[in-house]
């Protein structure tokens, strides 16, 4: 009675392989969609801010004001795209979205700087996107502060005859992502999101389709066991999922130039475990939904959104409200994102990442068990 029959499992796996190979839509989801997502998110989802379009209204027109403007022009973070001559024009460039920020230097700027008196520099920003604005302001702040410091230093030198030593000297060096490029950070997380979505989407259709076409009734009337059906169905999608994983890793390495510092063996081993969990989740959804439309919609909502929003991929979990932080512990993608980032960026292995790995093994095993157990060989 117990145990599963290998021949029946192979029969199911073979049939599923044929289904996938003959269905251009399934192949599209399996191979093309992950690549498209990788391209779109990899290129578009950059959180780096450079070349903020800037409007400059220099009312002073003095060497001092030109010096400050030239520092903005020379910065890779800003690009001066407009030179308005009134507040009306400033407002216009911001409103039309031509610029994101405007620098306004008062008429007395040159005179006051030259005479060593305090002067106000006005920066107007389009605050619609709070994150970007904050970032842009901090860049502007740094430039202005730098200039103002140099003025001080120059003044001190004139008084004492030599440049003063600044009391504090900040020297920083970013580890793991030395160039501080966000794609290095984004691509590994993106792989976790893509794998979750694709895997669940692929399998979410398989069981529901059999219910819809009536073939499930035929299968139930045979000696085929639930475990043989589920494992047989998983087999081809597992193979496809691993191909996707390989493609994503290759694209990350050669297209986005993201180095892999950790062990490849560990990378693919843990991905396989995560994949089994995600595929089983899809099967579970499929077995419950019984129609393809409902199953694919549910799979999308149940996998993509949490993986995208709550895994720490997009938003830092540490900044979330406490209640939401607790929820993230239930999102398996959270652990995979953490694992991938650790492995990719820091080259960490099981020694540091074992809790994440253990939880993913638990997720995989639990989902697989649930998928096999949910499937009842009965019609009603």
């Amino acid at each position: 009675m117990s145990g599963l029959n290998f021949r029946r499992l192979v029969a199911v796996a073979r049939k599923e392989f044929i289904h996938v190979l003959r269905d251009p839509r399934a192949l599209g989801i399996a191979i093309v969609l992950p690549m498209i997502m990788l391209m779109i998110f990899g290129y578009a989802l950059t959180m780096d801010l450079d070349r903020v379009p800037l409007a400059v209204w220099d009312q002073s027109r003095t060497p001092q004001s030109r010096e400050l403007v030239s520092r903005f022009e020379g910065s890779r973070y800003f690009s001066v795209v407009a030179r308005p001559g009134s507040y009306g024009e400033v407002e216009d460039t911001l409103a039309r979205g031509q610029t994101m920020m405007a620098l306004v230097l008062p008429v007395e700027f040159g005179r006051r700087v030259a005479s060593g008196r305090k002067v106000q520099v006005q920066v107007l920003t389009d605050g619609s996107d709070a994150n970007t604005t904050t970032l842009a302001i901090s860049y502007a702040d740094a430039i202005v502060r730098n200039y103002s410091q140099e003025i001080l230093v120059e003044k001190a030198r004139q008084l004492t005859g030599r440049p003063p030593a600044l009391p504090l000297d900040l020297r920083f060096r970013a580890w793991f992502n030395t160039d501080m490029e966000s794609r290095i950070f984004i691509v590994p997380g993106l792989i976790a999101v893509i794998m979750m979505l694709i895997a669940a989407l692929l399998t979410s259709l398989t069981v529901a389709r059999e219910w819809e076409t009536g073939t499930m009734e035929q299968l139930i009337s045979t000696p085929l066991r639930g475990s043989e059906l589920i494992l047989g169905k998983l087999a081809p999608y597992f193979a496809i999922g691993m191909v996707d994983m390989l493609l994503s890793v290759l694209a990350g390495r050669f297209l986005f130039d993201v180095p892999i510092r950790g062990s490849l063996l560990l990378l693919f081993g843990v991905s396989a475990v995560y994949l089994v969990g995600a595929l089983s989740l899809g099967i579970l959804i499929s077995a419950k939904a019984k129609t393809q439309l409902l199953a694919s919609q549910f799979a999308f909502v149940a996998t993509f959104l949490p993986a995208f929003l709550l895994s720490g991929f997009m938003f830092d979990i540490g900044n979330m409200p406490r209640a939401l932080q607790v929820v993230t512990y239930l999102i398996p993608a959270r652990y995979f994102v953490a694992f991938l980032r650790g492995l990719y960026l820091k080259g960490t292995g099981l020694a540091q990442l074992w809790p994440e790995c253990l939880l993913m093994v638990a997720f995989g095993a639990l989902m697989l068990l649930a998928a096999v157990r949910t499937f009842k060989k009965r019609l009603a």
Binding site: A11, R14, H19, S221, T222, L379
Partner: protein, 324 residues
């Protein structure tokens, strides 16, 4: 079980299935002998499919007992699945697999032994006349061919009992005929065939029939027994013009229990056909209809079923009134 399992392929005692408050199958008892072609007849929604699904282990009975091939339908469902073949109402092979791939798949599922695999495949391809189409996608085959392939796949493991749920619905008459030839051939080899249908001419092909209506077994017997003994009413056939309008008039004539259109004729159920005939002709002619022949006929199976079902409806109606 009191019935000897050796002689009977199917035995049912008070089999019952409820879906919530709805009683889909209401205490059905019957026996099907080995090698018999047993026809399960009834209108759509009568409980035919529900019964067959319980026999095949697809649904759990809510009450009663039953055996299939000597195995208990409540406790030995998985064992039953190994010794039966089942063809569901909906076409249930994979359209995107070729004929051969479908056969190989079910061959694997039924664990047909390596030595027998090739032989069984040839048998199915020959039986379904699909030798030249073995590499055709199943979805491209005409309905009748698909049906034969479904049957073949259900027979790969040489089951002793075969369950067919409306196997010929949506299949053209010629294919239907050749499908029944296959069923006869199987029965000749000793396979028990349990088939549901709502085609009357198919009912005539069966060794024995059970009529199910609103979940209850209304009649049980050979087609001959049904036509002879089961019907207390006599049948009067009337041919006249505008039979559709005439039907309304005929139904009101005293002594007519029920009236129904059969092609262009009207069939009337009555206790005494001899007495009714002249009165009926008179009534129709008085209403301005051109009346041709009025004669008593041997009831067809359809007459029998209509009469039995009407009788059941009358009884139910009376019961309801009584309760109210």
């Amino acid at each position: 079980m009191n019935a000897a399992p050796g002689r009977f392929a199917v035995t049912l005692r008070d089999l019952e299935r409820r879906f919530g408050d709805f009683v889909a199958v209401n205490r059905i008892s019957l026996d099907v002998r080995q090698g018999e072609i047993f026809g399960f007849l009834g209108p759509n929604g009568a409980g035919k499919s529900t019964t067959i699904r319980m026999l095949c282990g697809l649904l759990e009975p809510s009450g009663g007992q039953g055996t299939v091939a000597g195995l208990d339908i409540r406790t030995q469902r998985e064992e039953i699945k190994r010794s039966i073949g089942y063809m569901s109402q909906k076409f249930s092979l994979y359209d995107d697999l070729t004929v051969e791939e479908n056969i190989d798949f079910f061959s694997g599922i039924y664990r047909v032994s390596k030595e027998k695999k090739a032989e069984r495949k040839t048998w199915v391809l020959d039986m379904a006349h699909l030798q030249e189409h073995r590499r055709t996608l199943t979805g491209l085959l005409p309905g009748g061919w698909k049906q034969r392939l479904s049957l073949g796949c259900a027979l790969l493991h040489e089951p002793r009992v075969l369950f067919l749920d409306e196997p010929t619905s949506g299949v053209d008459p010629l294919s239907r005929r050749s499908f029944w030839d296959l069923i006869y051939q199987l029965a000749g080899e000793g396979v028990t065939v349990f088939v549901t249908t709502h085609y009357m001419e198919e009912a005539e092909y069966c060794d024995r029939l059970g009529l199910i209506y609103r979940g209850e077994l209304v009649a049980l017997g050979t087609p001959g027994e049904m036509k002879g003994g089961l019907m207390t009413d006599q049948v009067l056939r009337v041919s006249c013009d505008r039979s559709h309008e005439a039907l309304g008039v005929a139904a009101t004539v005293d002594g007519v229990r029920d009236a129904a259109l059969f092609g262009r004729d009207i069939h009337l159920m009555t206790e005494d056909a001899e007495a009714l005939a002249p009165r009926l002709r008179q009534a129709l002619e008085a209403a301005g209809f051109q009346v041709g022949a009025v004669e008593r006929i041997t009831p067809s199976l359809e007459d029998v079923f209509v009469s039995l079902i009407e009788a059941r409806d009358r009884a139910d109606g009376a019961q309801k009134e009584f309760k109210a």
